[in-house]
């Protein structure tokens, strides 16, 4: 019990440490520059207390329950013995045996999807987007679209580590796809789609995905964990942009098809 309590105090302390600069900046500007009282001050302060305690509990729970087993799993799944790969027989030509790592790709996909669904900052952006769009953007639709993007991204990222192809090729091709999609996607989704690239990678996703990248680059011969272990986060930041724009394009296309089949020959929307 005392161990548990000590752990909680540590996590709580680091959460406070994260929040302090934000509180100082907000209240500093509010009181010294804007010089206006904060409406519902008590409620807002209660909100901050909720956020601090909530985040501390959340992180603590993740560290107690999910991170140890998730990291252990990443290590076990990338073990050549488990995968039934005889490294001696293959030699250095891992790339042409990339398919033998299928459990790793599946795990990468599944863990990318599931951790994104639980990501608090994505929930926050989804709530805001639904509010601002007057409900036109469904929070679950957005979150699932982002999660699929992250899943594909992390899956492809592990494939890159196994085959040892350079990171920048994937990212640059990703950018080109994003730019092309930007021209065709509905205008109102573009900024949100770009944002969803950045929000996906925080509290839940990063530790597990990093463990996976490091485990994989440690066990695949010829990969350097320091060089090849990085890059999964970059994948997780580019692919959701595509999937969110794709989600909006799909929605627009379905709406257009429905209105056509309804035989409403109205112009415009």
């Amino acid at each position: 019990m005392t161990e548990w309590f000590n752990h909680f105090v540590t996590v709580f302390g680091s959460t406070i440490h994260d929040v302090i600069p934000i509180v100082v900046i907000i209240f500093g500007f509010q009181l010294l520059v804007l010089r206006r009282p904060i409406p519902h001050l008590k409620r807002v302060l209660t909100g901050f207390v909720f956020v601090i305690f909530g985040l501390a509990f959340f992180l603590m729970g993740l560290e107690e329950a999910l991170f140890p087993i998730g990291k252990l799993m990443a290590k076990q799944l990338t073990d050549p013995v488990f995968l039934g790969i005889e490294l001696g027989a293959i030699g250095d030509d891992i790339a042409s045996h990339w398919y033998e790592y299928y459990w790793v790709y599946l795990f990468a996909f599944a863990i990318g999807f599931s951790t994104t669904i639980a990501e608090p900052s994505l929930i926050a952006v989804a709530i805001k987007a639904s509010e601002v769009s007057g409900g036109a953007i469904n929070p679950w639709g957005l979150r699932i679209a982002v999660a699929i993007g992250v899943a594909v991204g992390i899956g492809l990222g592990t494939f890159r580590i196994v085959t040892g192809t350079p990171l920048y090729i994937y990212i640059i091709i990703g950018y080109i796809v994003v730019i092309i999609q930007t021209f065709y996607a509905p205008k109102s989704i573009i900024a949100l789609a770009y944002d969803s690239g950045g929000v996906t990678t925080s509290t839940v996703t990063v530790p597990l995905v990093t463990a996976l990248g490091l485990g994989l680059s440690n066990t695949v011969p010829g990969r350097d964990p320091l060089l090849d272990g990085f890059g999964l986060i970059a994948f997780a930041s580019v692919f959701p942009i595509m999937s969110v724009m794709g989600y909006a394009q799909l929605g627009e296309w379905l709406a257009a098809r429905n209105s056509k089949s309804d035989n409403t020959n109205s112009e415009g929307e």
Partner: protein, 240 residues
């Protein structure tokens, strides 16, 4: 009480996919029992409670204050103070970010192995520290640029696409050791508390300025904050 129970249930639903994935791989793929099942269940309960509290705090605290400050700045009409606030918010929330501190330390190790810097403790420390400052300044710059864009109503895609082109050009010239770290640094800068606050600020600004649409103009700040660190970190790698 009923509302709290409902919030817990929603948080549990958010967590369910991870639980299913872990259970599936543990029991069917790795075919092992769960070690410390009791501790795990306790941890899951904490995650669920924590997530519910966080979302509630978001709705009553972070979102209202972010939007309210945006309205107050718009009413005050002082561009300098608004941009200063934007910079402080970006820089201040990034500089102490634990994920960034960890990445900067690893980057220093990579730099030593790659022979980019000498292997002395002082040199490693100053490399990591300067890298961290570079990222924090770049995020501050990103929020300033993003806020300025909202005020001017520039389309977000032109700036982002220019940023992509910048990243591609820098990639060609930056030392290969820094590229992976630079690409990842874009993702680690935006923390769980910063994202809701910055989103509320952007949406609040876009709603309080006439002629701006909160959906088209309000979002995008996070996108800048994930793009500029890539460019700045590669620039840092080229200078060192």
């Amino acid at each position: 009480m009923n509302a709290f129970f409902k919030a817990l249930l929603e948080s549990f639903r958010d967590l369910l996919p991870i639980l299913l994935v872990i259970a599936f791989f543990q029991l069917f793929v790795l075919q092992q029992p769960f070690p410390n099942l009791l501790q795990m269940l306790g941890g899951i309960l904490m995650v669920v409670i924590g997530l519910s509290l966080f979302i509630h705090g978001l709705r009553i605290g972070l979102f209202p204050i972010g939007e309210n400050m945006a309205y107050d700045f718009a009413r005050k009409g002082s561009l300098i103070w608004l941009l200063l606030f934007a910079f402080a918010l970006g820089f201040g929330t990034t500089v102490a970010e634990p994920a960034l501190i960890a990445v900067a330390a690893e980057a220093a190790t990579v730099a030593v192995n790659g022979g980019m810097i000498e292997n002395t403790p002082e040199r490693i420390e100053s490399y990591a520290y300067n890298l961290r400052m570079t990222v924090a300044v770049s995020v501050g710059f990103a929020i300033v640029l993003g806020v300025f864009r909202i005020l001017k109503g520039w389309p977000v895609q032109y700036l982002i696409i220019s940023g992509y082109i910048g990243v591609v050009i820098m990639t060609a010239f930056a030392p290969p050791e820094i590229i992976g770290i630079a690409y990842d640094s874009g993702g680690v800068t935006t923390s769980t508390i910063t994202v809701p606050l910055v989103t509320a600020l952007g949406v609040g600004l876009a709603s309080s300025i006439s002629g701006r649409n909160p959906m088209v103009d309000g979002f995008g700040l996070i996108a800048f904050a994930s793009l500029t660190p890539m460019i700045f970190v590669m620039g840092y790698g080229m200078l060192i």
